[in-house]
Structure formats: structure tokens, C-alpha cells
Symmetry: C2
């Protein structure tokens, strides 16, 4: 009694010791897995995925993206800042208009691969 915390260790840990050790050895390092989760977190939002998908076709300015997604410029701009911080998009200025484009060739591949999964779910 008094043990409110769920236990972490159990008999299985001993029984399956070899498996657990093998898996542990094959796991990428903590930092890589953290970074990978961060990358997918960026993709895990409808607005951002629409922006990124649009940019796979053509560079676009903020207000065109806003019009395309039917959202305010402010909302789009906030998300573009996040995407730029994640180094997924870059921008160039032309007068008062700012054009955004993809900053990474892998994005499209990751999306296509993910879409295969989505489509198979029926």
C-alpha cells in the first residue's frame, strides 16, 4: 500500500531481456528521435500541410496562400514563420510582396509516402 505510482519494471523485462536490449541498441539516439517528432509535429496541422503542399507546386505570396486556403493573412503569416523557423520554407521579397517556397526536397517525398498510407485506409 502507499505505492500510487505505476510500476515500470516487471517480470517481462527479465524474460524478454535479449529482445529489449537488441531493440535498445538499434534505436536512433534520443536527439534524432526528438528532432524527428518535431518535424512531424510541424506536418501535423491542416493549415501547414496545405501551405507546404501548395508550395510543392509553385512559390506563392502570403495573400495568395491566404486566398487559396480561405484564411486570414495573419494566420497564414504566423504559420509561415513557424515553417521558416523549421527551415522548411524560405522567402524572397519583391517590393511589398513576399514569396515563399519550399526549402527542402524531402518534404514532397515524405508527403507522398504518407499519402500512400492515408489512401490505403479507405
Amino acid at each position: 500500500m502507499g505505492e500510487s505510482l505505476d510500476r515500470i519494471r516487471c517480470d517481462c523485462n527479465v524474460i524478454h531481456e535479449d529482445t529489449v536490449n537488441k531493440v535498445k541498441a538499434l534505436m536512433p539516439d534520443e536527439e534524432s528521435l526528438y528532432d524527428l517528432a518535431e518535424l512531424f509535429k510541424v506536418f501535423g496541422d491542416t493549415t501547414r500541410i496545405k501551405i507546404l503542399w501548395a508550395l510543392t507546386e509553385s512559390e506563392m505570396c502570403v495573400c495568395d496562400l491566404a486566398f487559396l486556403l480561405n484564411m486570414t493573412q495573419s494566420a497564414i503569416s504566423h504559420q509561415l514563420r513557424l515553417l521558416k523557423q523549421s527551415r522548411l520554407v524560405k522567402n524572397r521579397k519583391e517590393g511589398k510582396v513576399v514569396f515563399y517556397s519550399l526549402d527542402d526536397g524531402h518534404i514532397e517525398k515524405i508527403f507522398k509516402q504518407g499519402m500512400i498510407h492515408v489512401k490505403e485506409q479507405g
Copy 2:
């Protein structure tokens, strides 16, 4: 004055009409993009990505995963439920032990592709 809401339409929409229309035509449908974002949202958490990565190597029971990730069984169990709802993992029962394994062959491909991006960021 009185217009507090950010405008959505602007001159660019007309100037870049062809581009916007082209991009709109090439975008996947709303539902697919939503599902894709949902998929990436599941990947966008360190705990879940560790679980999934571990399961790419071997099926494992709940307490072994808890031990491997140094987390409570409860926390792992909650996440496994979510992963099962997303049809990313399946399970089989052997006595009182429940073994989880991957339910999708694409997961590994998506992870590897994502990892390429992560590693390139330096």
C-alpha cells in the same frame, strides 16, 4: 475604420490568378489532406515515435516498452490505444501479456525519409 478583420482577398489574387488556379487544381482533396495531417500528428510526439520505432525492430509487450522508454505503463498504454485507433499498431494477447506490433509497412519508410531530413539539418 471599423474593419478589424484581416482581409483575405488582395490584388495579388488577381495578378497571380493563373498560378493560384493551377495550384488549387493540383492540391489533393480536403479530406486526404486532413487525414495526412492526422497521421503526422500521431508521429509528432516523442513517446509515440519511440514506441513505433521500437516496434519496427520487434513486437513488444506494454511493460517492456515502458521499461525501454522509462515511462509508466499507464502512459504507454494510453499512447498504444491512440496508435491502435490510428491503425498503426495491432496487438495479440498471450496470457496476461499483450504484445504490440506494427500494423503498417509504410511507417518505416516514412520515418527513414524523415530521418534523412533531420540528419541533414546538422
